[in-house]
Amino acid sequence: MSTVQNVEPFGDGFIAALCPELIIFAGLLALIIIPNIGKGTFRIPGTQTRVMWLFGGERFKITSNPKMPAWIATITLGAAFVQTVLSFQDGVDRTAIVTENGTQLLLVNGFSRVFEMIFFGALTLAAFASMNRLEVKGIGPRLSTDDLYNNRRQADFYILMLTCGLGMSVVALAQDLFVLFIGLELASFSTYVLVAFYKESKVGTEAGMKYFIVGSVASGVGLYGLSMLYLWAGSLQFDVLAAQFVINGTDPLPLIGIGFVLVGFGFKVSAAPFHFAAPDAYAGASSPVAGILATASKAMGIIGLIRMLLIVASPEASEDGTVWLTLLGIISLVTMTWGNIAALGSTNPKRMLAYSSVAHAGYMLAAITAIGAWNWDDSLAGEPGEAAVAVLTAVIFHLVVLVAFKLGAFLVLSVLESDGDASRLSSLGGLAKREPFLAVAMFVFMISLAGVPPLAGFVSKLLVIMGIVKVAIGQMGAEIMAGGDYGLADVHWVWWLALAMVINSAISVFYYLRVVVVMFFEEPEEGRTGPLPSGWQVRFAILACLMVTLFMGVASDQLLEICEVAAKSLNYSWN
């Protein structure tokens, strides 16, 4: 691996390094400008001469096309996605964007690229699938004002999607806690509005409002923690914080500061007890948006958690890490159990998926706990970084493939929502007869979420559990193979988190398969027997998700390599 190449803003290599973000930015400008291009004229002051300046006035037919913003957004996000994927082709260069005095603000490396891939991939699918969600009130320049405004909302929706993507990628790139928080807030605000976007629906507006209020409180707590950290270290750079933590990590100021920052991220990943607004938000939002919340937004929170953990998880830190481990372990256990138990009785498929998403957050947290366990416990130290890389790879892989089957499930619900309603389990009734493709796709997504081989969900869950067990067993593994006699008492307690994961997975099969039973064996609801609303875009997106779910279950080698590069790029001593 080459050393970091420092680039000043707009200096050499700046465009190459931030290409995906710049594409998004360009798309954003296009989304704002293009719908406003029209036959507007400009009167030169003091004269009667009017000059055509193509802005405002009566729009051209093509610029007033309500489908236009959706296509611009999809193409922009898709281009950014392709750009990130391509950057893996010949190894990712490490490029840092620095200020004039050399402070790193953003760092482009394997880690950031892989998360950008997650974000842009999820957003592309969601944007594409949303194309038919907003009602179009006619096409053409001669529309009533109401209809015109209605069509304008199309642009608003996709502008929010792009800002969301921009904010998320800033989170992935940030090397400074403050920059990270700005990105987080940019993405969060966009999602708050997206949740409440359907102003006709009371549920959606209420959900958006609640999500916003609770999110603000969590952000406030997080920012408070941030200010405490700044007070303590005089900087919010990750490496500065980590270095400081090694020296005087036992101060109450950083401890409580970091604890508060964790609250902010905990809300984003919907960890208990900060998850309460999530089911409401998911149920109220339109399904593609809920899909974004469950995948991209969650990955964003995980980035924050990983970053914070690496600050405190230095093996040389002066402070004993058990407290962090205990904290994360308890949160993880409560989160996964709570999510699963709540999902068991849930009769709203979207709420069910929301709770399942809470449970998945618990699994992620268990894995992150395991990384900490490797770092803090001397008895576990094996090959430097080996176990940590294994767990991190598993977590990143899970986040990538989660996009396929979680978002895919939400997209299937999205089709049903266009049909009228997807808020009851019975709305899925008879889907197998109404549209077999959707039923089969949903079936695959459900069993992948449950972790059935040979689907992607199985591989990711297996890797996470294996990683945790590997950490928990540590060096004992080799000794057991050599005939050493060890019992459960000798194993690190994170092993029990892996067990909890397995038990929770078993519980979760019940509610995932219940959806399948309803789809295949129950009759449709009264008056919902006809064909589902058309729209090839959403079906295409579902097909893409389906393909990834199936393919990543059997041929995950390349993706795993990418994830491993990403995991290793977090700490270059691991290479």
Partner: protein, 758 residues
Amino acid sequence: MVAGTGTDTIIDSELMQFAPLIILLPMLAFPVILFLGRVFNRNPFWKDTMKEGGIIALVVMASSLIISLLLIKDHLGGFASMKDSVDFLWLNSSVYESGNLTSISFGFGIYIDHITVMLLFVASFLCLLINIFSIGYMNTDPINDNRNHRFYAEFVLFCSGMLGMVLADSFLWLFIFWEIMGLCSYLLIGFYYEKPSAAYAAKKAFLTTRIGDVFLIIGLVMMWDMFGSLDYDVIFSAVEDETFMAGVSSSTLQWALGLMFIGAVGKSAQFPLHVWLPDAMEGPTPVSALIHAATMVNAGLYLVARMFPFFGSEYLQHDLVDLAFIIALVGGITAVMAAAIAFVQHDLKKVLAYSTMSQLAYIFTGLGCAMFLANTLDWQTDADAHYIVIVAFGAALFHLFNHAMAKGMLFMASGSVIHEVHHAHHHLHHHDDHHDDHGDHDEHHEEEFDAQSMDNMGGLASKMPLTATAMLVGSASIMGLPLIGGFWSKEGIIANAWRVALEDPRFFLPAICVLVGAAMTGFYMSRMWLKTFAGKPKTEVAAHVGQTNTWIKIPLFVLTFVTLSAILFAGMGFTHWAPDSEYGLLSEKNLFEGIAYEMSHAFANGDTFFFILTYVAIAIGAVLGPGLALSLYGGSLAEGEKVKPWMKPIIRLNAWVYNRYNFDNQAIANSGLSRALENRLYIDHYYDMAMLKIVAGFSDKSAEADKNIVDGVIKKIETGTQSISKVVRSMTTGSARDYILMVAVGTLGIFFLLWGVA
């Protein structure tokens, strides 16, 4: 000359990367045909041009065959490297691989050695021919209309299961594909599921083979326990490892192999798990050909052949003799029993079904004897012993080859006969309809007529010359008439059975069985041919049978040549097929030397005992059995019927013997033994009784227990968790105030926890 050396060399064939396509193509065609069939059912293009999916299946099977042939060709190039293995790992990442011994990988691999090469050829070649036959057979039968896509879809999946089983690189994958075949056999035997007998036969086949499979999987678990893996590579190198074998109990290993052998017994329909096979004739005829010639029954033989390295291991010498005896004994008993039952069958396909059982039993006997020799002789170092083992093993495998080809052809030919008899019956019917106003006459006729019964045939030799020829050649091959097909391998099996019997007296039983069985085979195969093709037509229908269509003729024609040219295969060294580098296909000898060698071996054996034995076997197999049949069945053809010149001598001989030596066999036919044979020795009857009394009673009781106890507990758990879930969900009140409260509680919790530490 010393074996074992060089067998592990891995050939570097680029084609190995494409080998999975042999399995994948048919497997992927399965959903495609099913889906297209659902969508385009009744569409004229789909029906007439695509033959309801038959063409797709044909393309796929042809591709599989081409890749197989290329692969086989690559493995014929060098003799020192006949073993090849390529892995396609599923769970394979550096995260795993960076570990030490604990790294677990699960993937699919291709393993190619001598046995694979032959079975791969048999399976892919016959599957393609049967596919061609199916297009002629299935698509012209009106009762199959609009559901043939189901047939072709299941057909390709079946083929993919067989090819996968042959190519797989571990016992685990072998088992997986084995079960895929089990499923497909159920589906295909029950293709006419509206017929209760077909549904019953499908269930019977599935359940009977399942009994064997239970034992097979227990055996596999024991293997896993002993070797820590089910990969061939790992196991086969472990059995050659002295230090490793020192820690393995040979009696446990014998049990494991024995349990696996029970699985093979079920799959290959040997006594006592043979009851499913005759009933499996309820499926369409292409299915019978597929199951009995190309695929499923060979699976059991393949599994036993795969066990060779255990028997051949230096460190297991004399330890597995009992198992070898059991394998040979099961074969011997089945060979005679099935042949006896075949004596009294009237259904054309049933005769062939019992003949299949009997011939497979020969192969089992051959394998058992080869295993015995490998296990007792010092074959790894002694050149003479090595030669004996290789030839014995090769004879059994070569019989598999000959039987598969001949039986595939016989089933297709019988299908052709049945198809045309059926057709003629319909035609006649239709004809009647015009002159006869009484409709009920037709229905009566329909119920009475059985298109598969040989009692309704006779004299077809002149009407279906190609079919009659194919059937003749096939029967001759099964009977072991000198110079044709099965002769080359059957002599070897008999000779080796006696060779072993001279060393271990226990083996006299199977040895006598195979010798007697040869005469019995001669009788029932001749009886079948004569009843069908010779003599005068026994019904009006048989007199009106016409020629068959081209799709059916192609495979018959091809297979006739393959069967007739078995000597070429033998000359090329097919009989030497065994896990060894020295005796490869196309060995150093050229073709003519090979043929001359085979000839001298078959007819002029240096050892006096075997010289006599050879002629005794030929005499009873080719003269005694057929001679008896010639005197009892057939007779001269109807006036004015012309037959092809090559069938004339047989018809004349038959007429001469029949007229001269015919005797009344009513007394024997009505005897108790004959009735017992007709009732399949009451074995099915006892199985049914056991099922009804013991199994059904037990299953009633367990159903009750399940309903009351298990379901009750589950329901309790379910309602319990649901009520917990309700409590948990009720905490999500819907009020933002409460949510903020929870966030505050969480924050304070974290705060105090950390404060306590600080």
